[in-house]
Amino acid sequence: MNPTVSRVMKHRLFWPIVTLLALLVLNVAVYPSFFSIRLQDGHLFGSLVDILRNGAPTLLVALGMTLVIATRGIDLSVGAVVAISGALACSIIAGSADPNSPTTVLVAVGISITLALILGAWNGFLVSVIGVQPIIATLILMTAGRGLAMLITEGQIVTINSAPYKVIGGGYWLALPASIIIALGMFAVAAVLTRKTALGLLIESVGINPQASRIAGVRSRSIIWMVYIFSGLCAGIAGLMISSNVTAADANNAGLWIEMDAILAVVIGGTSLAGGRYSLGGTLIGAAIIQTLTTTVYTVGIAPEITLVFKALVVIVVCLLQSPALQTRLGSLRRKPTRRPVTTSTGGVLS
C-alpha cells in the first residue's frame, strides 16, 4: 500500500472522520440542499448551523468527560448536574423581580456555575480522597442529583421569560449561535491548557498509572480532583444552555442520557476508556458525529424515536472496530520487540 495512504489510514482519527463524512454524504444524498447556509437578519441558518447549535451542550459535556476518562475515570453525574444548574438558574430568574435585567441573569448564572463547580468537587473528593471507584462515586450524584433538581424546582417545570438568559442557548453572536461559540471557547481553553502546558502530560500519566505517577512526584490527587471539577463546570454550562434554549427547566428530562451521548462522543473520538492517551480533537469529531446522526435520522425521515437504535448500532460497530486494533496498538506500544513479530506472524498465517 502507498505509505502516505497507510499512514493516513492508521491515524487514530481516520475512522471517526470517515464516519462523519459518510453521514454528511448520506444527508446530502437524501436532502440535496443540506449544505446550504443562508444569512437572514444577520444570523446564519441551515442544517449545519443547527447541528452545531444542538451539538454544543453535548460537546461541552463530552469535553469534560474526555479529561475525566483520560484519568481512567468516568463521570455519570453530568446529566444530573445539567438538570441542577438549569433548575437553579431558572428558579432564581423566575423568582426575581425583573427577569429581564442582565444583573439578575448574571447572578443566576454565577450561582448555578458555582454550584456546578461544587458538585464537581464533590465527585472529585469521593474519587481522589475517599478512593471510591469513579463509576460508583458519580452514580451517587446521578441518583441523588435528579432528586436535588426536583427539590429546587419543587417538581414543577419552571418556565421563564428573560431575554438576556435566552442568549446563552438560543442567541447569536457574530452571526453564529452563541452556544457553539461558548462551547468552542471552552474547547479552546481546555486545548491550550492541556496541550500547551504540562497539564495534559500529567493527566495522561495519572491515567496510565496513578501509582507510578504519584511515586514519580505527580500530584495525582489534585489532578483527579481538578478534572472532575472541570467536568462539573462543563456540565453546568451545558445545563444553562439547554434550559435557556427551551426557556424552561425540566428537572426530570433536562440532560437525560446526555452522559451517554458524551461518553459515546469520547469513545468514538478514539479516547480509550482505559485511561491515558486522550484526544480532544477526537471528542470534537465524536460530538459532531453524535449530533449529525441525530439530524440524519430526521432528514432521512425515520421516526426520531429510533435514533437510540442507530446510536447503539454505531457504538457497537465503533467499539468492535476499535477493540482489536486498540489491543494491538497498545501491545505494540508497550512491548515493541516481542509483540510485533507475533502480530505479523499471525497476520501471515491468516492471509
Partner: protein, 339 residues
Amino acid sequence: MSIRTIDKPTAPRPRFDRPRGRFTLGSRYTPVLVTLVLLIAMWGVGATRYRGFLSVQMLLNLLIDNSFLLVLAVGMTFVILTGGIDLSVGSVVALSTMIAASLLRAGWPPLVVILIVLVVGSTLGMLVGLVIHYFEIQPFIATLAAMFLARGLCYVISLNSISITDPFFVDMAQTRIPLGPGLAITPSVIIAVIVVAIAFFVLHYTRTGRTVYGIGNGGQSALLMGLPVARTRVLVYVISGFCSGLGGVLFTFYTLSGYSLTAVGMELDAIAAVVIGGTLLTGGSGFILGSVLGVLVLGIIQTIISFEGTLSSWWTKIVIGALLLVFIVLQRLLTTVRR
C-alpha cells in the same frame, strides 16, 4: 491494569471455603449485618411513627411491590460479583413489557409470550457477554450500548403505552394467595422467591458459583486455576439478561401494560440494592441474601416516604443516593481494615 497488579499480593486471597462464624470488623458479613440492622431500625422507626406500619402484611407488601426488583437484583448480584456491571437491565425490562404487551395484543398465547420474552432477554445478555469477553470491551460500555439498543427497540415496537387485557396476565396481577388471616401475597412474590432460592443454591453450592467468586477475586488467577472463566463470564450476563426478562414479565403482572419509557433508571435501583446489600463493587465478595435485604431497604424507604405524606417523592432519590454513599464509604473502610 497496573493498579491491580500492584494490589494483587496484598489483596485478600480468594476464599472458597464455607464461611466460618467469626464476626470481626473485617468480616465479609459486616456489610450485610449493617444492612440488616438498618432495615430493622427503619422498620422500628416506621412502626413508632405510623399506624399500620407494624403489620406482617406491610412486610409482605414490600415483597409484592418489589418482586421485579428482587429478580433484577439477583441478576445484578451475579454480574457485580464477577467485577462487572450491567446497565441494560432497566431498558430490557421496558423491552420485555413492550414485547409482552404487543404480542398479547396480537393474540399470542400468554405462555408462549413469556417464553419469548425470556429468550429475548437471555439472548441479549449472551450477546453482551460475548462482546465483553471476546472483544475485551468494558462491561460498562457494552451494557450501555445494549441499554440504548433495548430502549430503541421499545420505540420501534410502539411509541404509546399498550394495555394488557389477556385473562392470564390479569389473573396473575389480581390473584392473592392467602397465607393466613388477613395475609396474602401475589404469584409474582413466589416466582421471585424461587429465583432467589435457585440463585442462592447456584452461587453457594455449585462450581459455577465458586467460579463467579473466583473471577471477581482476580480473573487471571481463576484462569490459571483452570476455572472455566470464559464460559462463566458470559453466563453471568445471560443470567442477568434472563433475570431482566423475568423482571419485565413480573413488572407487566404488576402494571398490566407495556410502555417504552417505563423503568428508566431501574438499573440504578438494582445496583443500589446490590451495593446496600453488601456486595463489593470490585467483585468477589457478597451474598444473594444481602441483595434481598438491599431491595427491602429500598422498599421501606419508599414506604416511609409515602406514609410521611408531606415528603415529596423526589426525596426517595436523595435518600437512596445518601444511603449508597454511606455504604460505599463503609465498603472502602472495610476493605482497608481487611488489608
